[in-house]
C-alpha cells in the first residue's frame, strides 16, 4: 500500500511564528487531504488538495503530485492552531476513497 510520511513529528512554536509541515507519499495519488485534530479530538478538514495550491486565511497548502509531496503553511500561528496535523492520501476506485494517513505532526503554539 501507499506509505505516507510527515515531518517534523513534533513542532513547538512561539505565537506569531510561521511554519511549514511536509507530507511525502510513496506512490501516485489522486486525492490528498490535510486535517487538523484539535485538542478535543475533532478532525477538522483543512484542505482537499490533490494538486496545486490553495489558501484559507492564515493557512495555505501546495501539492506537487508528480514529486509526491505536499506542504502545509501556517502563518502567524495562534495558540488555537495547536493540535495534530494529518496528511492523508488515496487512489480512488469505485468503492470509494479510502484514505491512508500519515503519522501526523504534533504542533504546540505557546503564548
Amino acid at each position: 500500500g501507499i506509505q505516507v510520511e510527515q515531518s517534523p513529528p513534533d513542532l513547538i512554536l512561539q505565537e506569531g511564528a510561521n511554519s511549514t509541515l511536509r507530507c511525502n507519499f510513496s506512490d501516485s495519488v489522486n486525492n490528498l487531504q490535510w486535517f487538523h485534530q484539535n485538542p478535543w479530538g475533532q478532525l477538522i478538514n483543512l484542505f482537499y488538495i490533490p494538486s496545486g495550491t490553495k489558501q484559507n486565511g492564515r493557512l495555505s497548502a501546495t501539492t506537487v503530485a508528480t514529486e509526491r509531496y505536499s506542504l502545509l503553511y501556517i502563518s502567524s500561528s495562534q495558540t488555537t492552531d495547536s493540535g495534530v496535523y494529518f496528511c492523508a492520501v488515496s487512489r480512488n476506485n469505485n468503492a470509494g476513497n479510502m484514505l491512508t494517513f500519515g503519522g501526523g505532526t504534533r504542533l504546540m503554539v505557546k503564548p
Binding site: 478532525l43 478538514n45 492523508a88 476513497n97
Partner: protein, 113 residues
C-alpha cells in the same frame, strides 16, 4: 446541523461484551467508512462501504462488522470485546467512487476494561 454524527461519544464496557456504535450522515454521500485511531494517534481504515461493495481492511478481526440499514447510516458492531479494542473510532463519508473529500464524525472513544 452536524454533517456526520456518531453515538455514543464515550463507551466504557467489560471484556467479552458486544457493543455497537452508530453513525449517520446528512450530506447525501454514497460511501461511508470506519477508521480506528490508536493510543499513538495513528489513524487506520477499517471499512469502506457503499450500496454495492464492502471493502474490509484485511487486518480487521472478524469480530468487527459494519451494518448499513440505508445509505445514510453505517453502524459498527463489535463482538467479544478485547482490551486491545480500546481506541477512538471515527466514521466518515464521501461521494461514491472517483474521489470526493472525506468528512469525519467527532469520534467515539471506546474503553474496554
Amino acid at each position: 446541523d452536524t454533517a456526520v454524527s456518531q453515538t455514543p461519544k464515550y463507551l466504557v464496557t467489560q471484556m467479552g461484551n458486544d457493543k455497537s456504535i452508530k453513525c449517520e450522515q446528512n450530506l447525501g454521500h454514497d460511501t461511508m467508512y470506519w477508521y480506528k485511531q490508536d493510543s499513538k494517534k495513528f489513524l487506520k481504515i477499517m471499512f469502506s462501504y457503499n450500496n454495492k461493495e464492502l471493502i474490509i481492511n484485511e487486518t480487521v478481526p472478524n469480530r468487527f462488522s459494519p451494518k448499513s440499514p440505508d445509505k445514510a447510516h453505517l453502524n459498527l458492531h463489535i463482538n467479544s470485546l478485547e482490551l486491545g479494542d480500546s481506541a477512538v473510532y471515527f466514521c466518515a463519508s464521501s461521494r461514491q467512487g472517483g474521489g470526493g473529500e472525506l468528512f469525519f464524525g467527532e469520534g467515539s472513544r471506546l474503553t474496554v476494561l
